[in-house]
Subunit: 632 residues, 2 copies
Amino acid sequence: MISKQNSDSLFRIQSRTFEILDSFGLDQVWRESTHVKEATFWDPDENGKIHRSSRVPNSMKGLSRFDCTGTIHQGVIESFLIQAIRASASVPSHPEVIIEGNITPSSLHIDETLIDDQDAYPVMVTLKHFDDASVVDAKSRGNIDESLHKTSFGDDDSKPKYLQNAQPGAEELVLAKYFVGCDGAHSWVRKALGQEFRLRGETTEAIWGAMDIIPVTDFPDIRVRSMVRSTSGGSLMMIPRENKLVRLYIQLTDGLSTNCLLTRSMVTPEMLIETAQRILSPYTIDFTYIHWWSAYQIVQRSGDHFDKQGRIFLAGDAVHTHSPKAGQGMNVSMQDTYNLGWKIGLACKGLVRPTAIIPTYDMERKLVAKELIAFDRKFSELLSMHSAKDISESSVELKQFFKKAPLFTTGIGVNYASSILTVVDDEAYGLAKYTVPGKRFASCQVTNHSDGRVWELHHRMPSDGRFRIMVFGGNIADAEQRFGVNTLGQWLGKTLIPRYPPINICPIVDRRLQTVRFQSELMTPIIEIFLVHTAPRDQIDVLRDVDSTYHPWHPKLGWDYDHIFTASRVATQDNIQLTQSVYRDYGIDEERGAVVLVRPDGYVGMVTSVAAKEARTKICNWFDSLLQGLDN
Amino acid sequence: MISKQNSDSLFRIQSRTFEILDSFGLDQVWRESTHVKEATFWDPDENGKIHRSSRVPNSMKGLSRFDCTGTIHQGVIESFLIQAIRASASVPSHPEVIIEGNITPSSLHIDETLIDDQDAYPVMVTLKHFDDASVVDAKSRGNIDESLHKTSFGDDDSKPKYLQNAQPGAEELVLAKYFVGCDGAHSWVRKALGQEFRLRGETTEAIWGAMDIIPVTDFPDIRVRSMVRSTSGGSLMMIPRENKLVRLYIQLTDGLSTNCLLTRSMVTPEMLIETAQRILSPYTIDFTYIHWWSAYQIVQRSGDHFDKQGRIFLAGDAVHTHSPKAGQGMNVSMQDTYNLGWKIGLACKGLVRPTAIIPTYDMERKLVAKELIAFDRKFSELLSMHSAKDISESSVELKQFFKKAPLFTTGIGVNYASSILTVVDDEAYGLAKYTVPGKRFASCQVTNHSDGRVWELHHRMPSDGRFRIMVFGGNIADAEQRFGVNTLGQWLGKTLIPRYPPINICPIVDRRLQTVRFQSELMTPIIEIFLVHTAPRDQIDVLRDVDSTYHPWHPKLGWDYDHIFTASRVATQDNIQLTQSVYRDYGIDEERGAVVLVRPDGYVGMVTSVAAKEARTKICNWFDSLLQGLDN
């Protein structure tokens, strides 16, 4: 994977990205980021003086347990990611992942004759090693693309260190099964793929500045996300970040006045703060510490192809660029590769059918990119109003837009279309009303049947490449319902699971889970099964009443106690259990239940019923279409 | 500080200990420990067959946000502590703390002529360095005390590595202001202090076994804390721990049958599991993996003196020993040194009056030790019933005892008596009904006035040696109330704070707080001031309405935004704020408020009123009695 460091050092992390990071055990990102809980709108009053016209939550209630944006330095996230990768590598028999820096590709080819051979390595890429000094040198000679951003490159303590694996100047030829270009807006990989991969869209003439300062100000909303539209100097948006810093986005020109001669290269930090002062007047703002600054034009473009022949892929800014103001860049980009990663990973391990699964990357993520561009265009337009009349007329529209925006900006609203991975089954309609194929499976709090501990379901479902069957078994205190759940369980354990080869997962992805496995037994089924029931705990002895597929036996470890949950936060009070079922949140019938098949990236693949015999056929067909069977 | 590693590798962490660890930023202990949420009682039925007679929460509702016991390996906690100490040492100008291993004291004296000189080093201790091999050697020759426990010393991956700072055999003389012996039940330091420091109490004859196994069993409550009293083989308690392990405490003899010839040295793991099998019958239990095992007699003893001349201290098992079954050992011991640490620390820095503060350690912790012994005696007695009649008769008593126990076992109920540190003021009675001097100041969720983020108040109050004044300002939207709060603020900022020298604290104790300080400005007031008000947020512009003591100005960092909170979890919904005041939890009037003075260890020192003039005199007198003034 070829990636490029972004010069913009602020990350605004959205709810779905927090969920994804958490699914790798990286919950420290949430704890250590600055939580941006609120947004305020400031508009001119009848005398042209700005005033707070509204204060709203910077998210939408109930979308995610990570209920707002978090801001954090890019270097901090990268350090966490590198630490996590290194920790995984310390597990015996787990392959080491090497992260190298100071590398650029210099040629890229596909051997067309090998495309259909899943064991072959059809991608040939030449990599060139250089040292830091030569980057600067090459830049000044124009050989390496300059960043879109003119930047001061502020001192950056958190910059992670990468491995330098070869002598500068050395070249190496790499043969690969798959190759991913995440090398930013000026992607070398995209250019190497040719004309048909060019991004299409528009560059606006409006110039904006961005700066990270520790503000010295009397503006009262400096620690919330504030959008200020003035008649005295244009628009400004502020985003509080960590360590007392605030990111300011400042409109410098509206791109409409034909007499404006400002170009990006003329922008200075003095110009930025003076414009901010004009916009915020009569409040004052200044700084003695500036961390970073930049000037940019808004470029809204995306590509028509996210992959070439299912072997070379583009992700992130390499295939969609837009303005930074909605805080989407890193989020949509990470979600691109999160969508792609498990597909390539399982294909490399020979566990899935690549021809079925790989094409879904382009299909699923291209639509998200199109939505992103449309969203960004509208948001930029609303923020860029410059006359009192326009501001006033668009005020209601901006607030309504902002109110609905979280469905998109949080990443929670993403809804992948019907495909081999996402089966919309008319007969299943209504079985799980709020658990829709194509959307991410939401997390609810459930109680471990055996120890009474409350867990977020997401915590039990780490991103380890496994599919999951969530059996919402309904009221298993009822004998008939229990029979159905046990019949299904027996079929899952005896018939379905043995059809597919097991997977070697890294057991320390998440220390919370305390997975115990003997070193000699590193393989585990590629489908993990959970039972979430609504019966009162004391009426069920799982060892006696529930099929062992839901609590597998191990001769050395005994029974498993980590896969059966009750659908409630149980407050045990002597013998009384106060329950509130999460079935309602999923839209599932508390007596009869439903079965939800979840993809390795946490999206709902299919919903079916617990008891119906044809449900088994449907489950089997779905997995057969995706997974390599043991008999292949 | 001389400490000794305990061979018992399981820690059962109670609520107050979690709060203390969290106050050092060590929240990972909570996340990575096994949460023991429930307890069940199993008694014989009329046919002598055991059955679950009750299931109860393993804590008490509302005591703490850490709402149950957590179990974790001792080595894991020690690693976290060492990491935290090392991280603190990486801060420029912060003193490095060195942790050395393989050291034992060989002589200890106090120079009586220097006791009253606060600048002198009256404690002289000779330390002897040895290597690991010589420990074993010395043990076999009986020169070093053997542990109370006969132990198998299971393999222990998590054992932290200590610095070996000198050649084995080397001796060094250390002159110290203060010296703490935390060297366990057979404390060398205690013996060196002489006859009057002997522990008093009793050793029972009953022999218990303890073992950590991965159980292979069909007992349904193996993952909760179960107390099983049988007529077929005695009593047993199980505590689930991490990585599928379960700790079993197994009664081997009741210490009453005079014909019993069993001694500790005869105990084997086979004997332990066979006894467990007999007690749990007709359920089965066995293991293939055993992590650790031991046999012990219950020794309930404590000392009459916790310090010698305010210079040498005993803490933990060195001054109180008891049975492990209530999971108190590590907790009460850590709370001993947590009580002592800030007192010695601030005395060494010359910031407090040692003669006032140091004696409170003995006073406060001795009473806790006495309670601990009494508690343990009763609990052991109830668990050790051996006849059907006794079990049946004590059944209700055991359950009632267990129901009230969390007040003591969690550590939350600790109530330090009135002293110079804990001022019970009759006039203040009723100002903060549930915020009592001598008890720990509870955490509630409050909302940052400036950014709307919800915080646990405890998160804003890390253990950094500072005192805190919590001004519950009431409804500052009311002009008169606001005037009172601002008058108090002005006095605090202009008169009180400047009386005392500032403190150099480590700014990275807790990364959540994102404290920003310039390296040239490492000193901060020893008293930190918070304002928690009940006014609607939009009615107060803190920069305009509130005295700057509550949001201090810094020429480079601007205003402070981290010390003013609203007393509610605010759910902003357009302009509507849904509030539920935490004033009710503290028992404080929502209009008029109260002032709570909090000690560096988080215990309430004093409560007084906001507006009354004599409140200022009381606050000033309290700090004057404890702190060194700048004019001294």
